[in-house]
């Protein structure tokens, strides 16, 4: 669709169908079959029309708009399709903001449709009017207000195009109530061109050739891969590239599952609570090949002391990421799949046995000092690590894993062994507590896997606990694992390490979670003894439909290793 050509629609509010019906027709034309949302006054015309297409579009009524936003994101992350989320004007729209920001920082395509008060009332502080365009501007890839029905097709076609192409992200369309009611002559064609936006960047072979030269001459190279690999479906190219060059592959949090964790070239998980070897050896590498990652501060630690001996090749589709945090030697501003596809023929078959052995030595140190105690404790209370490890072993990596934020998230990232792409749904950039439960609703609806398992902290669970109602109403078969330490564990860890153990407002008096699940008619069990753990997990995995397993875990324990704030990645501590 070309810009400025919507004049073939009827602008005088007369025509065949209403704006609301047009919205529904467009969703169907864009291949949308599942949406998440919450109704209210201003969006009632759209909901009314949704009822006519119940056979084509499933609408999931969450218990809070934030839940709808996270669910849409969970759905998008496992399906690779855009998530769609509806909310009414005013409080409905503002309740989405955390979810929009979360999708923005993690580059997830979600089309948010909010309703707005009648166009003549805009700007008057009318009932349930908020300037959601202004509010969401810094956290959307694009947003747009629609004040008459004939603008709906163009706005929505652009929304889907922008959300899903280039570096994906959330978009928001705000549609006034009168635009939903007005009639238009409906013509729809998918957008494939916007003059000011070109997601299809031409490939420059010169950069690819320069990168190949650096790669062929490196002696201690390391690949650091992120979410961009999953977004561009470049997992196979990454595998081929690594196997041909023999270069070890480390992954960022959102890159987990982009490379099989059982592979001999897998170097581990990067970042503040990542593995020992890739963090330490980043500073000994002579070449970093960064693919679809953005050198987030949780990955780089102190930038001044980051990878001092390394040349850097950066493959990223977003030009604004290049030279943003780390100055690079070769920038390949392109889609990861296309870049790797063109790079593979130019690189030499190679192996770095001596260099890889160094990773294994650090791995062993980490295993002996940290991992063994985390996943195979002989005595004492249950540890988060052993729960995650057991579930990883019992599912053999064949599940979609969702997490909340905090210690539960870091432990899951460390000990779940991912084997297939797009099997982790977590909140990376924003670190949003309360993400896990609603995101698992979307992930469950989007995935064909037998098991969708969400690991939650006792704190984060209670931020969006009301979504148990959604799970009950639609019988959404997620397995909910509460790693209950009766603390805001990750904050307590920082208080322990950096605030003289002064536990200011981090201890939690929690309700009976099993009783709460029972009130929602969700089968549930609480485990406090190590001896009961395995059988309970097996019972959970064997249950059809939703299940809640609360595990009482060690209260005061810290996730290690840790790159402390301000420290370099090579100063990562194994104990404290």
């Amino acid at each position: 669709m070309k810009e400025n050509n919507n004049k073939n629609h009827n602008g005088n509010g007369q025509g065949e169908i209403s704006g609301a019906e047009a919205v529904i027709n467009i969703l169907i034309a864009e291949g949308v079959d599942t949406i998440f949302g919450y109704p209210g006054g201003a969006i009632m015309p759209i909901y009314d029309n949704l009822m006519n297409v119940e056979d084509k579009i499933t609408h999931v009524l969450t218990r809070h708009e934030q839940g709808a936003a996270h669910a849409a994101q969970g759905y998008a992350m496992v399906t690779g399709k855009p998530g769609v989320c509806l909310a009414t004007s005013g409080p409905g729209a503002t309740n989405l903001v955390t979810g929009i920001a979360n999708a923005y920082l993690d580059s997830v395509p979600v089309v948010f449709i909010t309703a707005q008060v009648v166009s003549t009332l805009i700007g008057t502080d009318a009932f349930q009017e908020t300037d959601i365009i202004g509010v969401s501007m810094p956290v959307t890839k694009w947003n747009c207000q629609v004040k008459s029905a004939d603008e709906i097709p163009e706005a929505l076609s652009k929304a889907f195009y922008i959300a899903t192409t280039g570096r994906p992200g959330p978009v928001l369309i705000d549609i006034t109530k009168d635009a939903q009611i007005q009639k238009l002559n409906f013509i729809y064609s998918k957008c494939d061109y916007i003059r000011s936006y070109n997601p299809h960047i031409p490939l420059h072979m010169k950069e690819i050739e320069s990168a190949a030269i650096l790669i062929n001459h490196a002696s201690r190279p390391m690949i650091i891969a992120g979410h961009g690999v999953l977004i561009s479906h470049a997992e196979e190219e990454l595998l081929k590239f690594a196997e041909k060059t023999g270069i070890p592959v480390a992954l960022t949090l959102l890159g987990l599952s982009a490379f099989p964790s059982s592979h001999r070239l897998y170097a581990g998980y990067l970042g503040m609570h990542g593995n020992y070897a890739p963090n330490v050896l980043t500073n000994q590498a002579d070449l970093l090949i960064a693919i679809g990652m953005r050198f987030d501060d949780r990955v780089t630690g102190n930038l001044k002391k980051y990878a001092p001996d390394a040349s850097v090749i950066h493959i990223d589709i977003d030009a604004a990421e290049i030279n943003k945090n780390v100055r690079v030697d070769v920038a390949i501003n392109n889609d990861a799949k296309e870049a790797l596809y063109n790079l593979i023929p130019l690189v030499n078959q190679n192996s770095y046995e001596k260099w890889i052995r160094e990773f294994r030595i650090y791995d062993k140190t980490e295993f002996d000092t940290v991992i063994k105690k985390d996943i195979k404790p002989e005595s004492g209370e249950i540890k988060m690590g052993e729960v995650v490890k057991m579930i990883s072993d019992l599912t053999k990596g064949d599940a979609v894993i969702v997490t909340d934020v905090g210690q539960n998230q870091m432990v899951t990232a460390r000990y779940y062994r991912f084997s297939e792409p797009n099997t982790l749904v977590t909140s990376g950039g924003l670190g949003t507590m309360g993400f896990g439960l609603p995101a698992s609703v979307g992930a469950r609806l989007g995935s064909h896997k037998k098991n969708v398992i969400t690991f939650l902290g006792d704190g984060g669970f209670q931020m969006t606990i009301q979504e148990l109602g959604t799970i009950m109403q639609y019988n959404i078969g997620v397995k909910i694992v509460i790693l209950n330490n009766s603390y805001l564990g990750m904050v307590r860890q920082w208080q322990d390490m950096f605030f003289s153990k002064r536990y200011a407002s981090t201890e939690m008096v929690n309700p009976d979670f099993v009783a709460i699940a029972a009130a929602y008619r969700i089968p549930a069990k609480k485990v406090s003894e190590r001896a009961d753990l395995e059988s309970s997990i097996k019972e959970m995995l064997a249950t059809d439909g939703p299940y809640l397993l609360e595990v009482t875990v060690e209260k005061e324990t810290n996730v290690m290793p840790m790159v402390q704030p301000g420290a370099s990645v090579s100063e990562i501590k194994l104990t404290h």
Binding site: E3, N4, G31, G80, K81, P82, P109, I133, G134, M137, P138, K141, W142, F160, I162, A163, T164, T165, G166, P168, D192, Y193, I194, R195, S196, Y197, N198, P199, H200, I201, P202, I231, S232, H233, D318, A319, A320, I322, N323, K324, D335, K337, E338
Partner: protein
């Protein structure tokens, strides 16, 4: 090292674009020295001219972040040598004061000011030039008393030979030549 840059932001004529551009600068704590918005030589293309002081590295970062805004077509960052630029200032002064001595003469002859309105009570003087020339006139008039003063944002024309139209054509053909990717979502 901080340096003065003139940013020329070419965009679709969309409500809200100014906001999207300025939040990029405010997030990075970059002060806006002056800002002007107008149409450009290309029909339908809007031009925002912003003067900032920042480092060469930072200016590159914000330019790329501005170009990432969907409705932005192209952003140029120029140092003062690379552009021809002007600002305009208006001064309102008391006629009685102006008529004493040689003040008016000096404003017109030495400072290249122009009288755009003269009434028995006040005069309005217009001065076009670079900021330092305007400031010089401001200091001169301050000594005699100024009733009102206003200075515009910078307007600038680039010395580069390649014009926006050429960029637009290149961008257009780059977008159209490629079949939409099926690999990325959808």
């Amino acid at each position: 090292m901080n340096q003065e840059y003139t940013l020329s932001v070419f965009s679709e004529d969309h409500i809200g674009i100014l906001n999207q551009i300025t939040i990029i600068l405010t997030r990075r704590q970059i002060n806006i020295d002056s800002i002007t918005a107008s149409e450009s030589a290309v029909k339908g293309v809007h031009l925002i001219t912003i003067v900032v002081r920042t480092t060469p590295e930072m200016v590159q970062k914000v330019v790329r972040q501005m170009e990432k805004v969907i409705d932005v077509l192209k952003v140029f960052a120029h140092t003062s040598e690379e552009i021809v630029y002007q600002e305009i200032a208006l001064f309102k002064v008391s006629t009685k004061v102006m008529m004493s001595g040689t003040i008016t003469d000096q404003v017109v002859r030495y400072h290249n000011g122009r009288l755009v309105e003269v009434t028995p009570e006040y005069m309005v003087i217009e001065k076009t030039g670079h900021k330092d020339e305007i400031i010089e006139l401001l200091h001169f008039l301050e000594k005699h008393g100024i009733l009102q003063f206003v200075r515009s944002g910078r307007v600038a024309i680039t010395r580069q030979v390649k014009e926006l139209n050429t960029y637009l054509k290149e961008m257009d053909s780059a977008t159209r030549s490629k079949i939409p990717e099926s690999t990325i979502y959808n």
